[in-house]
Every structure is written in structure tokens, then in C-alpha cells.
């Protein structure tokens, strides 16, 4: 079984998958062999910060700085919940 995602985990997109902003659709999409996931704003923002170097805490920090009006702790919870879901869906990998 895959390890749990922690604050020190580094997440990255599955190899060969690509995150991209689609002007025609006005949203981020996740592209993979012969398929596409259409992402909402939150998912797009989180995946956009996964560079294969930053750990989850760093990603949360960046997003908290970008959205200072968000309630304390809310972004951290959103990021964690989303990454768990994304890992289950096989969109991302983590150590």
C-alpha cells in the first residue's frame, strides 16, 4: 500500500502527465495518454505548485501567501484532502 501523505512528502504528477491551462475551456486540465481531467480552480492551483521539489508544507505556505483571506488552516486541509484524492486517482505520485 502507498504511504500516507505527510507535510514532508514531495508530490509530483505521474510521469508523462501534464498540467496545462486551456484558454478555450478557461480552466486547468490534466492531460494523460488519450485522456483529460478537467480541474476546478482549487485543484488547478494546488497541482500548479507541485514541481517535484517542494514538500506539502511548502505548497501550503505558497498558497496561504497567495490567498491571505482564507480562514486559518483551511488551505492546509484542502491541500491535504485533494492530494490524498489525487494520489488515489493515480494523478500524482509521492514519496
Amino acid at each position: 500500500m502507498a504511504a500516507a501523505i505527510r507535510g514532508t512528502s514531495v508530490c509530483r504528477l505521474r510521469p508523462g502527465w501534464r498540467l496545462q491551462w486551456e484558454e478555450a475551456q478557461q480552466r486547468h486540465v490534466l492531460l494523460y495518454p488519450e485522456g483529460m481531467v478537467q480541474l476546478n480552480d482549487t485543484a488547478g492551483a494546488i497541482l500548479g505548485e507541485l514541481d517535484g521539489q517542494r514538500d506539502v508544507e511548502a505548497v501550503i505556505g505558497l498558497l496561504e501567501a497567495r490567498y491571505p483571506e482564507a480562514p486559518a488552516g483551511a488551505i492546509g486541509q484542502d491541500v491535504h484532502d485533494f492530494l490524498v484524492e489525487a494520489a488515489q486517482q493515480g494523478w500524482i505520485q509521492h514519496d
Binding site: P15, Q25, L31, G35
Partner: protein, 383 residues
């Protein structure tokens, strides 16, 4: 409910074509008897030039297309493939090469990688070399496929293997999946052959019996469990032959909804089989792609639900399955606007039941299938 709002519901995204299948050529070194190319492919000579393809890719991308499949025929026959891939990638397409692996070698894999190709899908005909050779009409193709599958994986690509299933290989599914596992596939499409084009011509020799199909589904379920147990991420996608369903598939997500194919000569189609329909499709040589997609009579003919006949017209499920497949309706009933006979509510459903009964009997051999080649194709070419 108005027709216009129905069309909007089916084209719920932006109405743009998200998927472009670029059939670069009808030329192919193999002769698979289930090929989806038109029977009269030999009559198509004037392939689009490199410049025409480059222009078309830019047009499609500007319209919102983002998934791009390079297919054929065998796309590797085109020596400008790397150039087309590079431009497609630069434009922002996710680029898929859908290939038999004939014409592929390590050098070309590296060149495609440099061009930015995102994914290579290789087709396998069987696990057994003899069956593979008989289906593809080539004794050497199978070994090349296996070698290239390993090379593709070694080059770091995500690899999808596609196996077209039919009555002559479906009983070997266990060995086929084992082979795909050994080759390191990330995903396997176990696609029961769709009965269009050459496959429709060969239907009696291809459609598996219900017993064969059920055994294959059970094998797939067993393998999914086995793969999960050993923590191996290899997705198995099993596509049932719709002849064994009681409701039709929502073909292509709806006519002219998200998908378009451009044929080797520039004809623009709502799917790769549509050329068999008794209608004329516009060409990118004559009109801009945007105009073809949004305004042409051909692309609007089966959009929405105003074209539907009974029993579809008053059916609650008509937006779920969009009446099924126009090609199948035409091939089986002669009327492209008829309800897909796969539907148990169709007055023509007995045609499907007859095909199922036929599949319970006849045993025919692989050698009796009509191969897809230029010689056989000329029989179907109109002057």
C-alpha cells in the same frame, strides 16, 4: 424542450472539438481484418502535405482541441511525423502516437522523444506469434512489436498497449494480459473489435460468442485483483462489443460533440468510421476547419435530437446514449438516422440477435478473414 437547448446540453463544455484524430495516411504494412479504415481506402491517393497538416494543427488548436492522436494506416510511414509532432507539441497539444510499431526503431523513438511526443500506444494482435502473424498478415510484425514495446518503456514513455479482441484471440486473454504485464505496460486497452469498415465485412469471423465474452470478462476481473495484490499499476480497460448490450453506446459522446477525425486526404469526419455513411464530408482543402465544425451541414446533421426517429425521439434516455451510433444504424438498417439496433427498443434489434446467434455457431479460421490490403480494397473502389 427546444432542439437548441438539447444541442447545448450535449455540447455542454464549450462546444469545441477537444479531440483531434489525425489519420496521416491509409498506407500500412499490416493487413488486420478488423481495420476501421474505409473499405475503399485504396481510392484515396492525395494525402495532405506537411504544410497542410501544419496549418490544420494550428487551426484545430486555436479552436480548443487539446488531445491529438496521430494514427492511420500506420503513421510512421510518414517521414514528416517528427516534424508534425514537434509543431503539435509547440502548439500545446498532448500528442499520442497510435501505431503498429512497424517502422519504429530506437533512433526513431529518440527522435520522437526529442520532438516532444507525449505517449506511444502500440497495438498487439495476440500473445501467440502464430495467431498474431495470421491476423496482421505479417510473420515478423509481432517480434518487432515486443521489441519496440520494451524500447518505448525504456525511453521513459507512459505506455498503453491496445489489443483488439475477437473470436480468434479472446480465449487467450490470460496470456495476453500476462504478456502486457511482462512488457511493463502502464495501461492495456482490451478492446473488443468494433464492427465497422473491414471488421463489419468480416463480422461473422470476428464476433465472439457470449460464452467467450463472459469468460474474458472474468479473466479481466481476476487479473485486476492479481495486479492490485502485487501493487502493480497497470490499468485494464475492457471494452465490451456493443452487440451484447441492450442499450447503445453514446457514440463519440455525440455527433460533432467533442471529437473530429481528419482523414489522409483532408476529409473531416465526426469519427474515424463515418466515411462509410452515404454522405459527403467537407475537406480542409476547401473550407476552414472552424467553419466545417460549427457550420457545415455534415457536422450539424446529427447534433442535438431533432433528427431522431422513434423510439429515440420520445425516449427518456435519448440524451444519455444520443441514439447510439450512426454508422452502426446505417450498416445494419440502411438508414443512418435509425435507432442503433443494439437498443432492445429498436424495431431492428432482431438483426443484433441474429448476429449473436451466428456467433454461437460458425467456427471459421483466422485464414478465412478477408485481409485489409490494397488488392482487396480495389474491389470496393468506385471509379
Amino acid at each position: 424542450m427546444t432542439d437548441r437547448s438539447d444541442t447545448a446540453a450535449i455540447n455542454a463544455h464549450s462546444g469545441a472539438p477537444l479531440w483531434l484524430l489525425a489519420e496521416l495516411t491509409y498506407r500500412c504494412p499490416l493487413q488486420c481484418a478488423y481495420c476501421s479504415n474505409p473499405l475503399d481506402f485504396a481510392g484515396v491517393r492525395e494525402e495532405l502535405s506537411t504544410e497542410e497538416w501544419l496549418d490544420l494543427l494550428a487551426q484545430a488548436r486555436e479552436m480548443g482541441a487539446v488531445q491529438l492522436g496521430f494514427s492511420g494506416g500506420e503513421p510512421l510511414v510518414r517521414q514528416d511525423l517528427e516534424q508534425l509532432v514537434a509543431e503539435a507539441r509547440r502548439l500545446g497539444f498532448y500528442t499520442n502516437l497510435i501505431t503498429s510499431a512497424q517502422g519504429l526503431d530506437e533512433a526513431r523513438i529518440a527522435a520522437l522523444r526529442d520532438a516532444g511526443l507525449d505517449h506511444i500506444q502500440i497495438s498487439l494482435q495476440a500473445s501467440d506469434p502464430d495467431v498474431a502473424a495470421a491476423v496482421a498478415g505479417s510473420p515478423k510484425a509481432h517480434a518487432r512489436k515486443l521489441a519496440m514495446a520494451r524500447a518505448v518503456k525504456a525511453a521513459g514513455y507512459p505506455m498503453v498497449l491496445n489489443v483488439v479482441l475477437h473470436r480468434h484471440n479472446i480465449d487467450q486473454l490470460d496470456a495476453i494480459i500476462a504478456l502486457c504485464d511482462e512488457l511493463g505496460a502502464d495501461a492495456v486497452e482490451l478492446a473488443n473489435c468494433q464492427l465497422y469498415g473491414w471488421a463489419h465485412l468480416n463480422r461473422a469471423g470476428l464476433l465472439p460468442s457470449r460464452e467467450q465474452l463472459e469468460a474474458a470478462e472474468a479473466t479481466t476481473v481476476r487479473w485486476r485483483e492479481r495486479l492490485a495484490e502485487k501493487g502493480r499499476a497497470m490499468d485494464l480497460l475492457f471494452v465490451v462489443p456493443d452487440y451484447y448490450n441492450d442499450r447503445p453506446k453514446a457514440c463519440m459522446g455525440g455527433w460533432g460533440s467533442i471529437f473530429m477525425t481528419v482523414a489522409p486526404d483532408g476529409a473531416v469526419l465526426p469519427c474515424h468510421s463515418a466515411r462509410l455513411l452515404p454522405m459527403t464530408f467537407p475537406s480542409v482543402r476547401d473550407r476552414p476547419l472552424r467553419e466545417i465544425w460549427y457550420d457545415s451541414e455534415a457536422f450539424n446533421r446529427y447534433r442535438g435530437d431533432a433528427w431522431m426517429q422513434e423510439p429515440c425521439r420520445s425516449c427518456d434516455e435519448r440524451h444519455r446514449d444520443v441514439g447510439g451510433c450512426r454508422c452502426q444504424a446505417y450498416l445494419l438498417t440502411g438508414d443512418p438516422a435509425a435507432t442503433d439496433p443494439v437498443c432492445s427498443l429498436s424495431p431492428d434489434h432482431h438483426l443484433i440477435e441474429a448476429a449473436r446467434r451466428e456467433a454461437e455457431g460458425g467456427v471459421g479460421t483466422v485464414g478465412e478473414l478477408i485481409p485489409r490490403n490494397v488488392h482487396e480494397s480495389r474491389v470496393f473502389c468506385r471509379s
